[in-house]
């Protein structure tokens, strides 16, 4: 364990600017200069939704935990979820989850070497967007119908 951190300090020294003396070369254009194509936008959204879904499953854990603690605790938790902020969080969670799922299916196809050409990729862009919007709407139609 100690070796693990000692090594990380070594590596930091090797690559630190003081030792390497990096000259001021011209830089390549930064990311914000490019006009991001839709595929790139969906790709970074996959990461952003992935990281935020971590918070989503923390919320799910608290949901189950509050139910296990008893009726009072569960009531307190659902009171937050029924509040407009809670509903907004739930909506964001469901949209991020469904988007990450749909785009994840596309990634799995890429991983087995399918749909790499530009035409199919762009078609999949729209398929991912369309299906996430449809599925999220469907989920909330079901949820709100049960609530009324």
């Amino acid at each position: 364990m100690l070796d693990y951190f000692k090594y990380s300090i070594n590596l930091k020294n090797i690559y630190s600017r003081k030792i390497m003396k990096i000259p001021h070369r011209p830089l390549s254009p930064h990311l914000q200069v490019y006009n991001l194509p839709l595929t790139a936008l969906l790709s970074i959204s996959h990461r952003i939704t992935g990281v935020s879904l971590m918070l989503g499953i923390v919320l799910l854990t608290l949901w189950v935990f509050s139910a296990a603690m008893g009726e009072e605790e569960y009531k307190l938790f659902t009171l937050f979820l029924n509040f407009w902020l809670g509903k907004l969080v739930l909506f964001g969670f469901s949209l991020a989850l469904i988007y990450h799922l749909c785009n994840g299916i596309r990634h799995l196809f890429w991983d087995i070497g399918m749909n790499f050409d530009l035409k199919k990729t762009m078609l999949a862009d729209f398929a991912v967007l369309f299906s996430s919007i449809i599925l999220t709407t469907l989920v909330w139609v079901v949820a709100l119908k049960e609530l009324i």
């Binding site: 693990y4 951190f5 139910a67 009531k75 989850l97 799922l101 049960e146």
Partner: protein, 132 residues
């Protein structure tokens, strides 16, 4: 070659600490297999929670205490936290260049992930056994 001392180090010295060469694809593969498992589990979870739709404690507990829902919920919690911490690791390795900070963050992420996954699983088990 940039570092003056590097020519005196053996190839083994350079490779040490960079991770094993034998399981290079393990992390990548684990992320894909957990993703595959999460496809049906997520569909089940989202539509179950939508139909349940914030009704009372009794409805929630009755739903979760059935062996089928209980099993799937435990699987979802376990697999999703595992998949999530694998994903956080990839993102941290891409964007955090300070290695001490990165490694500390990864250890903390892994600890919290498995802590919460276990908390969720124990909660589901408690609901199941209390309903008997």
């Amino acid at each position: 070659m940039v570092d003056g001392s590097s020519q005196f180090k053996s190839p083994l010295r350079h490779a040490r600490g960079m991770g094993s060469a034998k399981e290079g694809t393990h992390h990548w593969l684990a992320q894909r297999v957990t993703a595959l498992a999460l496809l049906p589990l997520t569909f089940w979870l989202v539509f179950s929670l939508a139909t349940l739709s914030l009704k009372g404690h009794l409805e929630f507990v009755t739903w979760l205490s059935s062996p089928f829902s209980g099993t799937l919920m435990i699987l979802f919690l376990l697999v999703s936290f595992h998949h999530g911490q694998l994903g956080i690791q990839v993102v941290a390795e891409d964007y955090i260049s300070n290695i001490t900070l990165r490694r500390t963050l990864l250890i903390v992420t892994k600890f919290i992930s498995y802590l919460l996954a276990t908390l969720g699983i124990v909660s589901v088990l408690r609901i199941i056994f209390e309903s008997l």
